[in-house]
Every structure is written in C-alpha cells, then in structure tokens.
Amino acid sequence: MNPMKKKILVVEDDVHIQTALKAFLESKGYEVSVASDGYAGIDALLREEPDLLLLDINMPRLDGLNALGLMRFTERKVPPVIIVSSLGDRENVLKAVGFAADDFVRKPFDLHDLGRRVEQQLLTLDFHTLHEILEKLTIADLTRPEKFSRFKIPDWIPYSSHYRGLKVCVLMNPEAGAKHPLSLTYEQCLTELVVLADYKSGWRSIWPKQIPEFMKPEKKQSVG
C-alpha cells in the first residue's frame, strides 16, 4: 500500500459500474475500495478513512443520501463527496446539496469528466501550484460575504483567480508588507495567505491545508 496514494471509496450497488470505476480510478493512480450499499459504505468510511467518496443514490438497504446523512454522525470526518446517480432531478440535487455533497455527476457519466471532478475534489497545492494561482490574480470584490459563511473572513485583501476549472479567492494579510502575493516567501504564504476554492457545496480552503484558527466557525450553534 502506497501511503502517498489518495484513497477513494466507491459506494455503488451495480457490480459492472463498480468494476469500471475501480479500473478507471486505479489507472489514474488512486487506491480504490468499494461498498455495495449505504450501510456498507458507512462501515467502509470508518474502516478505510478515504480521501474522497463516490456515492450512488439508489441502492438497496440504505440509499446514498441517507447514508451520507448518517455518516455526518460518525466520529470520522467525512471527506469530499461526489454523488454519482441517474436520479439527477431537481429534488435529488437539492437533497444532495442539503446533505453537503460536494459535487453531483449524472449517470451515464463521461469518465474524463468524472476524472476531472475527482481531481478537483482532491486538489492539493504545493508552493509551485500555488504560484500558478497567484500569477493570475485580479483584485476581487467580496460583495456577498455570506457565501463564505463557513469561515470567519478576516479583513484581508481579497483577490480572485481560477485553477483547474475552479473559481478561487485569495485572501492576503495586508500586514505582510508585500505589494503582491507573488513576492511572499513559502513561510509567509503559510501564515499570511489563504486560498479558498468555490466548490458546489460552498467555499473550501485549499491553502494552507489547515485554515488558521481565527477563520474557523463555531463548531455548533445552539438555539438554547
């Protein structure tokens, strides 16, 4: 087992689709495990600790959306989730958004498109790829801060950019003293710069891997 390999859990009841997805994803260098229904998916999530979940909706015993709902109660942090289903009607897409799925792919899918979406969800940036983003920066206007409501957005300078088909927002601490984020050193980039990417489920931090404590939201809000 290669510890560097990203692990993907495919929860899909059709054995042919399972086989095709496994073959395709393994050819892309991922480590793949499969489960055939929602309950088996929850057990596999706890056992395998995957980096990404591909989840069908219509499955025996427990469907994918209910399984996703239950996964949120487990101690394990749920990784990004791509729903892969032929039930692509408005209601199911809305439900998927409600269960905080990160993307929705309709069956029959195109493997190249699926591969691109998987890559987007597993996006990790190193200093080199961060520079690819920083080279395309334009000043952004955060006119709808509520879109970022999963973060406490500091009063930093906002820039916008794009990367691998994703809209990206770069926030820079004005106290860093640099004129442009490109002039920051690696160490400065870790503390003075945050990069958020626009996923379907909302904005997510892609740099640094752990967002600063002061940007984290309250864990739970009680009405009591």
């Binding site: 493997l111 999963r150 864990k219």
Partner: protein, 246 residues
C-alpha cells in the same frame, strides 16, 4: 427482466384485469401509471448504459487500442449518447410522477437499523410490540428517521434521545421522538431557520425540517412539534397503516 420494471408491469396488469377498475380511474391516473412505467424502464436502462459507456471509454483509453478498435468504440459511445438522449424525456416522466412505491414497511426494523448507526447519540428505544406495518417507502422512512437525528444534533449537539413507537387512540401508528432540548416558544420558531455546522460544513436546519415534512407528506403521514409539560421538545409522527386484506 429487472425487478423494478417487472413490478411496474405487474401493477399495470393488475389495473387492467381488475374488472371495473379502469373505468373508475380518471384518464389522468392512467397516464400517470403509464408515465411511471415508461420512466422506470428509462431509469433501469441508465445503469447498463453507464457500464457500457464506461467500459467503452476504458478500451479507448487503453494504449494498446488500435485505430480500428478505436473507431468501433467511438460507434458504441455514439450509440450510448443517442440512447441517453432518447431516454432523457422518459426519465423526467418518472421524476414528475414521483418515485413513490408504497409498500409495507416494518417501522421498528427501520428505526433499529438506523439507531445502530448513530454512534455519537445514545438512542433509547421503546418499540411497540406487534406493530402493524406502515404503508410507505423504505427510503423515505429512513430519510425521516435520520432527519430527526440531524435536527437534534444540529440544535445543541444532543447526546441522548428517546424513540417510542405504538398505536394511538385513533388507531394510527405513531413515532414519538424526544430529545433533551428545551427550547422556549420563541426558540422553537428558530428551529425553522437556524444554521449549524458539522465537520466545518454549513447545514441549514430549515432544510432538514423541509425534508422531514416533505418526506412525511409523501408517505401520506404527518409530523407535529410540541413542547412537553417539562419544557422539552417532542416530535410526533403519524404513519399510515397497511390496511388488512378483505
């Protein structure tokens, strides 16, 4: 024949052979049945088309694929696209008619199964003995039960809940859900719109309430929220019962 299609066919057959039933049904209902049937056929075909398309693409991606094989694979992919295009309007017939497939469901069994998969919450069960089956859809009922947990988890990170099933004085099947939350009436109204965060992901309680109500409505049940005398929140769900034959 795939199980779901066979079931729809049988449903149509029962309607067609049950004597005076068809004239009693409005033409609209017959069209809905036909739409559900065609939609089911389209839905069942999506799975083999997905496999076919995926395997054709895997062959295409294979480095040993010769130009001739590639040409044939492109023909398969083109046929898949055409089939997909033809099925798309049929699939929407099913979606517009809804996916309900009312059938008897053992409520206690669903509750026990779901409760065993929420390790962060201690669930106390008081399940009614010899409870008649409820008429509904297993997925919708699973949805209802896990949404109840989500609602509680959202509002204060509840660690202990109690679920009781039984039959009330009106001969309805009931599920009573109590958690340890004590909202005031003003806070109760907040249940409809508060946001909450699990795993750094923003959820909307409003959405859960919506799912709960919508899911109960779809199985012809109902849900009510009351405050118990000791100030705790209680959700009571009424499920339709399977009518005994004869």
């Amino acid at each position: 024949m795939p199980k779901n299609i066979a079931k729809r066919l049988r449903d149509l057959d029962v309607e067609a052979t049950s004597g005076g039933l068809p004239p009693l049904l409005s033409p609209g209902i017959n069209f809905v049945s036909l739409g559900v049937f065609l939609g089911s056929v389209a839905h069942e075909l999506q799975t083999p088309v997905t496999s076919l398309r995926a395997f054709a693409q895997l062959i295409e991606m294979n480095t040993e694929c010769t130009p001739k094989i590639k040409e044939y694979v492109l023909e398969i992919l083109s046929a898949c696209t055409e089939l997909q295009r033809s099925m798309s309007p049929l699939g929407s017939l099913l979606q517009s008619a809804g996916m309900e497939d009312p059938s008897p469901v053992a409520l206690n069994e669903v509750v026990e199964e779901i409760a065993s998969h929420v390790p962060e919450i201690k669930v106390e069960l008081h399940l009614g003995k010899q409870l008649p089956q409820v008429l509904g859809n297993r997925v919708q009922i699973q949805n209802v039960i896990q949404t109840l947990f989500r609602l509680s988890f959202a509002h204060g990170g509840v660690s202990k809940v109690s679920i009781a099933t039984g039959i009330n004085s009106m001969d309805k099947i009931t599920l009573t859900y109590d958690d340890n939350l004590s909202p005031t009436p003003a806070q109760t109204s907040l249940l409809e719109r508060t946001q909450f965060v699990i795993d750094d992901v923003l959820h909307y309680a409003e959405f859960d309430t919506l799912i709960l109500r919508s899911a109960m409505r779809r199985i012809r049940g109902s849900v009510s929220l009351t405050i118990t005398p000791d100030g705790k929140r209680r959700l009571t769900l009424l499920f339709p019962k399977v009518q005994p034959k004869g």
